[in-house]
């Protein structure tokens, strides 16, 4: 019993290590690629590994949604826009204002260091040390998350659907081709 639990935990650790390495490597590749197409492909790697991490958190519904929405829909959108706007940068990192940006990155790195130190230091507290055994049987399935979505969170759900509708209309309006002979309202 103890041996099987230990080996399961070992497999879980290995899966977590591979997936988190994929997430971080994909993220770093995304922000360092010069060609936007390779950046999009690295982002697909990041989101696929992140979906695996969601699955290890027994968030099955969200893992599938991550693949469908991010790696499917949003990435296709990005690839289309990259095709329209593809200009390789000669200098991907701006020379102008590099000093202030470096200060910003250093500040962000310091905040990261402090928060990561805090999380590492407080890792014994019950919330952060809680290991991942599924608390209820159908935790994170479509039916249980959907039941919550259509009972307690019905109003936010409708609000977010309205937000998506507004985003769709806004996207169509912004990219609409304005004919030359007609005066355009959007200058």
């Amino acid at each position: 019993m103890n041996l099987t639990a230990h080996s399961a935990s070992m497999a879980e650790t290995i899966a977590f290590a591979i997936l988190s390495a994929g997430v971080l490597a994909g993220g770093l590749l995304t922000i360092t690629r010069r060609n936007p197409v390779s950046a999009v492909m690295s982002l697909v790697l990041t989101f696929a590994a992140l979906a695996g991490l969601f699955a290890t958190l027994s968030a099955h519904f969200l893992a599938v949604l991550q693949i469908l929405v991010y790696a499917g829909a949003i990435m296709v959108l990005f690839v289309f826009v990259v095709m329209m706007v593809n200009r390789e940068e000669s200098t991907p990192i701006a020379r102008q204002g590099l000093c202030t940006r470096a200060v910003g990155v250093l500040a962000a790195g310091y905040v990261f260091y402090r928060v990561a130190w805090l999380v590492g230091h407080e890792r014994g507290m019950p919330l952060l040390a809680a290991s991942a055994t599924p608390p209820v049987k159908d935790f994170g399935t479509v039916s249980s998350v959907g039941a919550l979505l259509f009972s307690d969170f019905l109003f936010p759900f409708e609000a977010i659907s309205l937000l998506l509708l507004v985003a769709v209309i806004g996207g169509v309006m912004l990219t609409r081709h304005v004919r030359e002979d007609r005066p355009s309202r959007v200058s």
């Binding site: 977590f16 997430v23 971080l24 993220g27 995304t30 922000i31 950046a39 982002l43 990041t46 992140l50 991490l53 958190l57 027994s58 968030a59 519904f61 969200l62 949604l65 991550q66 991010y70 829909a73 949003i74 959108l77 990005f78 826009v81 329209m84 706007v85 200009r87 991907p92 701006a94 204002g97 940006r101 990155v105 962000a108 990261f112 990561a116 999380v119 590492g120 890792r123 919330l127 952060l128 040390a129 809680a130 290991s131 991942a132 608390p135 209820v136 935790f139 998350v145 919550l148 979505l149 307690d152 936010p156 937000l163 998506l164 985003a167 769709v168 806004g170 996207g171 169509v172 990219t175």
Partner: protein, 99 residues
């Protein structure tokens, strides 16, 4: 795995995205970095949700995902619109509102 490991991965991913937003000048890569930050927030929500045994975090992760989709749609539409008028995708050259 304990929750703090997931939180550390989420933090690292968030700050990778922040570095991308601060350093890169290509507006597409800046938008991708914002997506990275939102995904890191989703990971933190899901890991705390798992630690607390409460599925409300899943609902909010779902909302974050919908929000990211809306943000990507509007942001990319603005990128296309700006590229059409100014023929550039660099943030440093889009400074028409700068005083």
């Amino acid at each position: 795995m304990p929750t703090y490991a997931y939180i550390l991965v989420s933090l690292a991913l968030f700050f990778v995205g922040a570095a991308g937003v601060l350093l890169r000048r290509n507006v597409l890569i800046v938008l991708m970095s914002v997506e990275l930050q939102l995904a890191a927030g989703t990971l933190a929500l899901l890991s705390f949700s798992r630690a607390l045994g409460d599925q409300k975090g899943h609902v909010f992760a779902f909302f974050v995902m919908a929000l990211a989709a809306a943000e990507a749609a509007v942001g990319l539409a603005i990128v296309v619109s700006v590229f059409r008028t100014r023929r550039t995708a660099s943030l440093d050259e889009v400074n028409g509102l700068k005083g």
